[in-house]
Symmetry: C2
Amino acid sequence: MPKEDAPEFVDTITIKDIAKALNLSTSTVSRALRDSYEINPETKRLVLDYAEKMHYRPNPIALSLKENRSQAIGVIVPEIANTYFSQAINGIEAAAYERGYHVVIFQSQESYEREVEKVEHLAARRVDGVLMSLSSHTFDIDHLKTLQDRGMPLVFFDRIPTSIETHKVVADNFGGAYRATLHLLESGRRRIAHITSQPGLSITKERLSGYLAALKEYNIDHDEQLVKFCTYTQEEVEANLDALFSLAAPPDGFMTASDRLALGYYGGLKKRHIRIPEDVAFVGFSNLNVAELLNPPMSSVVQPAFQMGHTAAGLLLDLIEKKEKFPEYRIERLSTELFIRESSCPNKH
Amino acid sequence: MPKEDAPEFVDTITIKDIAKALNLSTSTVSRALRDSYEINPETKRLVLDYAEKMHYRPNPIALSLKENRSQAIGVIVPEIANTYFSQAINGIEAAAYERGYHVVIFQSQESYEREVEKVEHLAARRVDGVLMSLSSHTFDIDHLKTLQDRGMPLVFFDRIPTSIETHKVVADNFGGAYRATLHLLESGRRRIAHITSQPGLSITKERLSGYLAALKEYNIDHDEQLVKFCTYTQEEVEANLDALFSLAAPPDGFMTASDRLALGYYGGLKKRHIRIPEDVAFVGFSNLNVAELLNPPMSSVVQPAFQMGHTAAGLLLDLIEKKEKFPEYRIERLSTELFIRESSCPNKH
DNA sequence: TTGTAGGCGTTATCAC
DNA sequence: GTGATAACGCCTACAA
């Protein structure tokens, strides 16, 4: 008789049901299902056939409770509706699928509080490991240190913390930003604005370093007025745009830290009727295939999002499955590539 | 003593631990934690303080096992790296968060087998309800009928099946396609190609109907050579493009069923040096803000992705929480909006 | 007001 | 080769 309040699933069958139906004990059934050597082949057949017929499926919740594990890894990203992360998730799922794990996806929505909450929930759900990319509002990472201290395998990717020793997978942000900036310099730009993400993030810092290193090669001083940290909101992007173009010496080039920021700038420039081809050149960190369709086309640094997810998940699963702890923390750095897209616009100077 | 093989979580504390520490029974502790009226206020304080101090967190797995529910809803989308679905997921998460539910996200990767697998896994995981958008290779929906028969609350959104009675949330695909096509007709186009998704999908059929209805207003016959069903791969897009432009009477307009398809076509046309402004006009179903940045800008039908997710999740949660079953199946149809973006290109005829 | 016992589904240990 | 029992963490009917 089903409990009164609980949902009833009419044909959910358990080991106990099988045992009853075949006049066996639950332990025998359990062993038969797990193909134990100590079970009579006939009994085994009987059980397997019946289980098949009744669509028996082991209850993963009961297993998790017993085993303290779940055959699942948890992923926390700042935002799923960010092409970079959704592509990374694809890489993660591919790696997990190959090795028989499920993937539980959460987003922190760029909020520290949400991130803490999700971390706790994943731990409570007994995921076997966690893949993490930090929210832009996360400065204190005690929640992650605690997680690690409690023995949870943990791998950071893309947006990594500096103040914790762990396994990390990152892109070569420095190199990408360096080459992108150099490209603008080589095409004659000298007032290159850098529009980038929140200052606390690792990716922000690395890209800024690359930008500055390139400027240095041309003996150009760091002009802080040309560096803008911001979120993805169009209002903020436009405020920065106004600030930049009201400078005594406005920028003649843009090195943006993401495709979304770049699109925001294109939109903002267009709205202000600032003709992009004649005034400014763009480079962005792009994962979209729109870069070359824009007017003018945008050169871009492409980061291997899928590969990053795949690598990070592979590393995490190694961690989970190796009995012995890895002797030291590994850091994988994936290379980035600069695609130069020339404007075919005739009025280019 | 911890089990030898299971992962140890050093400070994971249970009700039993609290009971032992305070010399109480587990039931007393349990009741105190749930703020039961029958517990001595002092005992309650004692328990709550200790639980707080030790960072006690109830084990959701044990709860799920007991209650056959999980305070979580499951979502299956064809692909997360699709702006439309990732925005819908945001809407879903917002609605779920408001009502204290977690969201478990899976992708079917446009594969029927994967979809079946994910559905089973969600059911096994005892999610309290399922939100579903069909894969493009799903024609047989027995797995979903079964799920529903077993009592699982189920709401479809965006890509819905026709052969099952359920709650559904969809966009006004017919109206959007109708208005988009009409827009092209009004601007003088007469050979309008329709590039769309897989023929089995509800969205595909509805949009095709809208397209045909608009043509009919202008007494234009349905030319099947102008309608192309395809996936998102660039190869397929380009093959269609070649077929279309090798027609005796090539298209002079495009009505595409998604932003991604539209971008594929822009890319393909560009590669072939087909000058878009003079030859063809585009309309696409867009959720990106790039439409107006393209060259030429693309008019687009915008669908409310976030709102769709939010609505669908709200409906599902109502279903879950109402004791009485809803008397009849509800279908929500969300309106779409056509944004016309004129080319500012001087060589427009 | 508090304690005891049983059960959710499964597996491991120990008997027989 | 098979069965009984306990345990994972929690809740609740029943007993005291």
